[in-house]
């Protein structure tokens, strides 16, 4: 039994069957990559996991509990964090504040009316956020407005924000897209390190095969809304179906 069990999930948009009949099982403490052509339904699948979309059919179980019908914040509180394909951060807030918010959410839950205590008085949260900034190599940008950062930086910030929640399942939708090579490598290292240090399961969508093959323990290839194959990385590379549908000749 995996920590995440997706059974027979289907989702239609008007005339388009975006997800056909998806079955997926992600084992605890592994990195599971989902790859596939553009428009295969990878992001849609993720949306079904975090409560952004409700699938038409099927079930999604996380750690033995169904996530369907729960609000996004409840799902997050169950331990699922997500990084979006286009960065979703608090543009008007500083980088430090961006990092503080998930730390508060982790400590205090979905709602906490601490209207009198000052932020600067919350030492534990501050330290944690600070440590995360250092980890993400962004400590020098602490006071910058998040909106003014370059896009690669925004994405790293978002990853940092999700990590600081110490999720049990981290969903990454193309985390290194648009990231410079150096930072991509850093991110790979970071994710590897996290995987070793913490009890964390990662599901990652990526088009950068370098990233996929450096990290993944298991790969599912999705095409036109249905899983094409699921296998170990070395087998995927050689699979002719995958080559044709996705990798192309240059891989």
């Amino acid at each position: 039994m995996g920590i995440l069990e997706v059974k027979n999930v289907g989702k239609r948009f008007g005339g388009l069957q975006a997800l056909g009949d998806v079955n997926l099982s992600v084992k605890e403490n592994t990195v599971h990559a989902i790859i596939g052509p553009n428009g295969a339904g990878k992001s849609t699948l993720l949306n079904c996991l975090v409560g952004k979309l409700i699938p038409d059919t099927g079930s999604v179980m996380f750690d033995g509990q169904s996530v369907l019908g729960r609000a996004p914040y409840e799902i997050n509180q169950m331990g699922i964090s997500r990084v979006f394909q286009t960065p979703e951060i608090f543009g008007d807030l500083t980088v430090m504040e961006n990092m503080l918010i998930p730390c508060f959410a982790k400590r205090d839950g979905a709602f906490e009316l601490n209207a009198i205590g000052s932020v600067s008085g919350q030492k534990d949260v501050l330290e944690k956020a600070e440590a995360m900034l250092v980890d993400m190599n962004m400590a020098d940008k602490r006071h910058m407005h998040a909106a003014a950062m370059s896009r690669g930086d925004k994405r790293r910030l978002e990853i940092g924000m999700c990590l600081s929640q110490e999720p049990r399942l981290l969903l990454l939708d193309e985390p290194t897209a648009g990231m410079a090579r150096a930072d991509t490598n850093n991110t790979i290292d970071l994710l590897k390190q996290i995987k070793e240090e913490r009890d964390i399961t990662i599901a990652i969508i990526e088009h950068d095969m370098h990233v996929v093959f450096s990290l993944a323990d298991r790969i599912t290839v999705l095409a036109q809304g249905t899983p094409l194959v699921e296998d170990d990385p070395q087998n995927i590379k050689g699979n002719p179906k995958v080559r044709e549908a996705y990798l192309g000749e240059s891989a």
Partner: protein, 400 residues
Amino acid sequence: MFGLDKKDTTLLIIVACLALFAPFILNPFPTGSAMAQFNAGYPDLMQRFVIFGIFAIGFNILFGLTGYLSFGHAAFLGVGSYSAVWMFKLVGMNVIPAIVLSVIVAGLFAVVIGFVSLRRSGIYFSILTLAFAQMSFNLAYSVLTPITNGETGLQLTLDDPRVLGVSQTADGSIPVTSLFGLEMRSTYEMVVGPWAFQFNVGYYLCALIMLVSFYLAVRIFRSPFGMMLRAVKSNQQRMNYTGLNTRPYTLAAFVISGMYAGLAGGLMASMDPLAGAERMQWTASGEVVLMTILGGAGTLIGPVVGAGFIKYFENIFSKINDTVLHQWFAFMPDGVEDFMVFVVHPFIGKGWHLTLGILFMLVVIFLPGGLVEGGQKVKNWIKGRGKSEDSKSGKTEPAE
């Protein structure tokens, strides 16, 4: 001090000094001089400054932090006033229970309206709040007359039942509001040479409450809750996917600001025991929106400045008439005098709206971010001329 950092403490102390010495500061011109028209240091207006200051501070907690623009906040002020006057009519003339009740009732009202309205965001939210407030206003003006006394407004009468006190005083008049016997209207007048300064009990009570409200607002701004509210404004989607439920946050902000409005309403009734339906009209809601934007939404002190600005115009400029103008320009030759009066005439007295409208436009065009940010820019500019340009970093910090 008080759990605030240095900058905020300084700000609080400045505000406290301004409030404490307002009778002096607002009365810079000797009584009887031509410029005395511009004096604002009399009890009623000073009370209004701080009461509307409270109203705007509260509004800013909702609007400035979460970005939810309520167009019906006057309803809470009105409800607060009605509760307070009923308290005076039925219970007693002490202001404390009246104020407490007005805050509670406004808070309950805000829970209901907020719960419904916050199901929508953006302009849809604004129109929902507007609709609730207009309903309250229209009903208060007509159908609810037994409770609100309609057009005339709820006033004290000689035969109010008042359980803790008398219906009328020995000399047959209506008793006045007081704080444990300290009459709100009692005023000490200090005459210094040609100046006359008025120290009014009611004003100082209001000022004190305003300071407490302001202090609380500063605390809220700097608290984790305040940061969450700013996060709501910035990106609700991210909030949700970070495990935070935005609804209770926005509702809490809504109720807090509704209670501030109720407090303002209760104070208004305590200073002058009358509650009229117009207090709930959309124009009144619009006024607090304008105060907040004019001063600087999302800044701490801005709303208070904006409130003072608008109330000053309403009360001072509307009272200048041609006779006063002639006095001002009396030193000029007759022709020039008449010409000056002719030129200035459209902007004062019955034209005070025109002046206000023009100033709104000028402020928002030339001082984006409101008066406070404009003031900061001027300060920076003056500073910047002393030093050389050293603000190269793209770092911008939220203004006070």
